[in-house]
Structure formats: C-alpha cells, structure tokens
C-alpha cells in the first residue's frame, strides 16, 4: 500500500468519523490514532477547520412565509395536473403506458392498440375534403356547420385540440367541444339548481364564481350532494378564500360524522392557519368524538398556530380527566387568509 493510498484511506476514515459512519469501537480506535499519529491529526484538523466555518447542518433557511407561499402555489399546480390527467386522451395514454410497462402478452398489447385506433376513429371528424361538418350537439339539434353555430353567437368553442396535422397530405383532425350559453332562474332550494351549482365547483370556473357558489349553497347542506361539493371544495380548492367559505359552511353541519372527517382532514393538512382554526372550532363542539381527540394528539399539538396548539393541549388534558371545556372563541390574532 503506497503513501497516496494511505492518505486516501485516512481521508475516507476522517469523513466517516465526521459524518457518523463509524461504529462506537471504530470511533474509539480512530480517536486513539489521532492522539498518536501526527499526519492523521493534521489531515483531521484541516477537515475540522472547514467544519468550523460551515458546520454540518448549515443549510438554506426557509422561513414560514416562504414555505406557505410555495405550498399554496404547489397546491394549485397539483390540481391543474390532476385535471389534466383526467382528460380522456391522458387516460388512454396512461392505460397504454401501463400496458407496455407490464410484462403482459403481446396479444394484450395488440388489443390495446386496436382499441385506441377504434376510439380515435370514433372521435375523428368526417374525412370530407369539401367542407367541414360538425357532430350534432344533441339529438334534437339541427345539423349545422360548427362555424355557423359560433357565428350566431349561441355557442363558443372550448377545449379545442389539434390531434393530427399532416402537411404533405393536408389531413387534419380537430377535436373540440361546443358550449352553448344557457340561463337558469329559480330558487336556491330547488334540487336541480343545487345539483348544477354543486357540479360546477369541480369545473374550470373562476375563483370568484366558486366563492359565489359556496356562498349560495352554504345553507343548503342538508342534501348530500351539496355536502359533498362543500367537502370537495374544503379539501381541494386552491383558493384559500373558497376553502374558508366551505369550512364555515361545513362547520354548521359538524353533527354529521362524515363532515367531521372532512374537517379533521382540513385541520391536519390545510396550509392556511385561518382555515385550520375554522375546522378546529367546528370540531371542538364535539369533544365526545374520539377520532377528533386522536387528530388533536397527532397533528394539532404541533400546529404552527398558537391558539390551536394551546387549546389542543387543554382539550387533551381535560379529556384525560374527563371534564367538559367551555368553548372559547379564538383570540384576535392574525389568522389571515
């Protein structure tokens, strides 16, 4: 073994020592060598000087504001990604990828390909070179050119995708939806209107529209469809204002165990402290619910919001002693959205 290799081996040993990669016996042996071997000690002190300047664990500082901003932004992006994945073409693509990546028979892969071609034909426009014709929108709708429908201002194009474009043969395949404007007027207690609004929340409508929908539905939570829509908003909406409105609406329904489960999820995972406080205040109306107590123990004791932490501690302690707590309002701290 030459000197260079000795130095390299010693350098590796020093690193292992610094980064805790030695057993107790190895550490002891190394420390003994340090006391007796001058060269080793010199190398170690060289490394040590670096660690004094930049100790292990010296890392970029991430403050709470920055973390929350990133979490909120990621939430929006994840939902967009989830929506993108849910489109039909993505479903087919994922199915094919899953088929190809699994050790399945060639026959199954061929079946997958054939299904895709068949589906593509079903979606494709008619191959007329003379004019573009559109699919009927509904069985009772007159068969008219889509351009005529758009120009009459009754419809608009949404979700247009150019699926195929072959410059040599001039072939093109376009897939699109035609949306017609419609108006509904009636009572918010009408189940049909409630169904329409509840379904709209999951569609691509603006933040302010979703907020308006939640406000409209907030007193109609006796129907399960509305409850589901409010729950979906609380757990999935990227806008904290919308989630807060959903939390406040669901708070009135917290007698229901399914609603409490949603509130518990919000309490344990929402990035916005105001929303977690709203969920918390709804849940502590039902301290006989052991699942709530478990959530407080698992998550709320470590919450970044002091009110939640302090009150959770009291709740858990009193739960042990089996005494009932009066319900307090949160202090006038900042629980901004």
């Amino acid at each position: 073994m030459n000197d260079n290799q000795n130095i390299n081996d010693d350098q590796m040993l020093i690193l292992a020592y610094i980064y805790g990669d030695l057993s107790a016996e190895q550490r002891q042996a190394f420390e003994q060598r340090l006391q007796s071997e001058v060269e080793l000690k010199k190398l170690f002190e060289q490394q040590n000087a670096f660690d004094k300047l930049m100790p292990g664990g010296t890392q970029p500082v991430i403050n709470d504001d920055r973390l929350h901003a990133v979490q909120w932004s990621l939430q929006k992006r994840l939902r967009k990604e989830s929506n993108r994945q849910r489109t039909l073409s993505s479903r087919i693509k994922n199915m094919l990828q899953a088929l190809w990546s699994q050790p399945v028979s060639f026959g199954a892969q061929l079946v997958g390909m054939l299904l895709t071609f068949s589906f593509g034909f079903l979606l494709a426009q008619s191959n007329s070179t003379e004019s573009i014709s559109g699919e009927p929108l509904a069985s009772h709708t007159e068969l008219r050119s889509p351009l005529q429908l758009i120009e009459s201002d009754n419809y608009e194009i949404v979700d247009l995708q150019l699926k195929q474009l072959e410059p040599q043969s001039d072939k093109v395949k376009v897939v699109y939806s035609l949306a017609s404007k419609a108006q509904v007027q009636g009572s918010i207690t009408d189940p049909e209107i409630q169904n329409l609004l509840a379904a709209s929340i999951k569609n691509d409508v603006s933040d302010s529209t979703r907020l308006d929908i939640i406000e409209a539905l907030k007193d109609q939570g006796n129907r399960s469809l509305v409850k589901d829509a409010l729950s979906y908003s609380l757990l999935n909406d990227p806008n904290p204002g919308v989630r807060m409105a959903a939390a406040e609406s669901l708070a009135k329904l917290s007698d229901n165990e399914a609603v409490r489960e949603v509130l518990r999820q919000a309490l344990s995972s929402d990035i916005n402290s105001g929303i977690r406080v709203a969920a918390f205040q709804a849940l502590i109306q039902h301290l006989d619910d052991q699942k709530t107590i478990e959530t407080l123990k698992s998550y709320s004791l470590k919450d970044s919001n002091q009110y939640i932490r302090d009150f959770s501690k009291r709740v858990i302690n009193d739960n042990k002693n089996n005494t009932q707590l009066p319900v307090e309002k949160s202090p006038d701290e900042t629980t901004q959205i």
Binding site: Q59, R66, N236
Partner: protein
C-alpha cells in the same frame, strides 16, 4: 411501510391530490431546503421543488413499494434539481459575474440563499459575504459532488441513505463528498483563515 402511508400512496396513485399532499406533508421544508442547496436563488429553489413534486405526482403510478417513499421522493427531487441546474448553468454564471452586492439595496433578500443553522435560528449566519461565497463555491462543484454535499453535509442525511438516493455505493458517496469538501475548502480559504 406503514399501512397509513401505503393507503395514501394507493390513493395518490389513483390521482387523489389530497392523499399526495398528506404524503408530502411535513417534508416540504426539508425538501425545499434540499432544493435550495442546488439553486442559484430562492426563486429557482421554489421552482425546483414544485417541479419535482409535479414529477413525483406524475411518476407515482410507477412507484414500487419495495423502497421507502421518502427515498424515492428525494431521488426525484435531486434528479429534478440536477436537470434544472444544467439548464440554468449559463444563467448562474451570468448572475455571479454581474451581481454586485455593494450596489444592491436589498442584500438580505437578493438572488441567493441565506445560510444558517435551522436547529438554532439565533445562531444563524448573518454574513452576506459568506453566504455569497458559499453559493459560489457550491456552483463550482460537479453534479454528483453537489448532491453528496447537499445531502450529507447540509441536510445531515446518513451516507447509506444518500447512497440509496444517488443510486450508487457508499464508497462513491464518500469520494464525492471528499472532493466536494476539498473544492469548497479551497474556495472558502479566506474565511477559514
């Protein structure tokens, strides 16, 4: 793997965003800090972290439960950081060349990461010059050296775990780590004294 984590992974693999968020809940700060170790600026770190999480969400159907979820996630984060680093390399060089901290009114929130000890905020290094020098020294490391340094030295991840994340042997991790420290030490010599 805990059964709760297993259930969340299965739900997330079906496209459940909330399940995925619960999986990453509590790890965001550490992962953002790792991303920041590779980034030229806080904005870049945030982009790296978010891109990595989107990549992870997309790749979830391919996750085999024979490895730790956290290890898998860190691997995606590191790979995303390296891809991003390669794309931004020329931009990083321009930033270092033209950045003049003496003329920047907002040196405390300028385009580089502030370094400190997360476990002891009161002892956080407030020396802007040192932070800048650290960032410059990190930029001089190769991809593997940087990964080893960020994971083992900055984030205090065990060498054995870093080896799993990097997909190499422990000996290789130590080699990269040694070379990284050597380069950093020579770049920061004036601060060591």
């Amino acid at each position: 793997m805990e059964s709760i984590e297993k259930d969340l992974i299965e739900a997330a693999q079906q496209g459940n965003v909330s399940a995925f968020e619960q999986l990453i809940n509590g790890t965001e700060r550490k992962m953002l800090s790792i991303a920041a170790g590779f980034a030229a600026s806080p904005d870049d770190a945030e982009d790296i972290y978010q891109d990595a999480m989107i990549n992870a969400f997309r790749a979830l159907p391919k996750f085999r439960k024979d490895s730790q979820f956290s290890t898998w996630l860190y691997r995606i984060l590191v790979n995303t950081a390296i891809s991003s680093r390669r794309k931004l390399k020329s931009k990083i060089n321009r930033l270092i060349t033209f950045y003049d901290p003496q003329n920047d009114e907002n040196t405390s929130i300028s385009g580089y990461e502030q370094y400190g000890s997360e476990s002891n905020p009161e002892a956080q290094l407030s020396n802007d010059q040192l932070s800048k020098a650290i960032n410059k020294a990190l930029a001089s490391l190769s991809d593997k050296e940087k990964i080893a340094f960020v994971l083992c030295h900055q984030q205090e991840i065990k060498i054995v775990d870093a080896a799993q994340i990097m997909g190499c042997g422990e000996g290789s991790v130590k080699s990269y780590l040694f070379r990284a420290r050597d380069k950093m030490r020579s770049q920061l010599q004036s601060f060591i004294g």
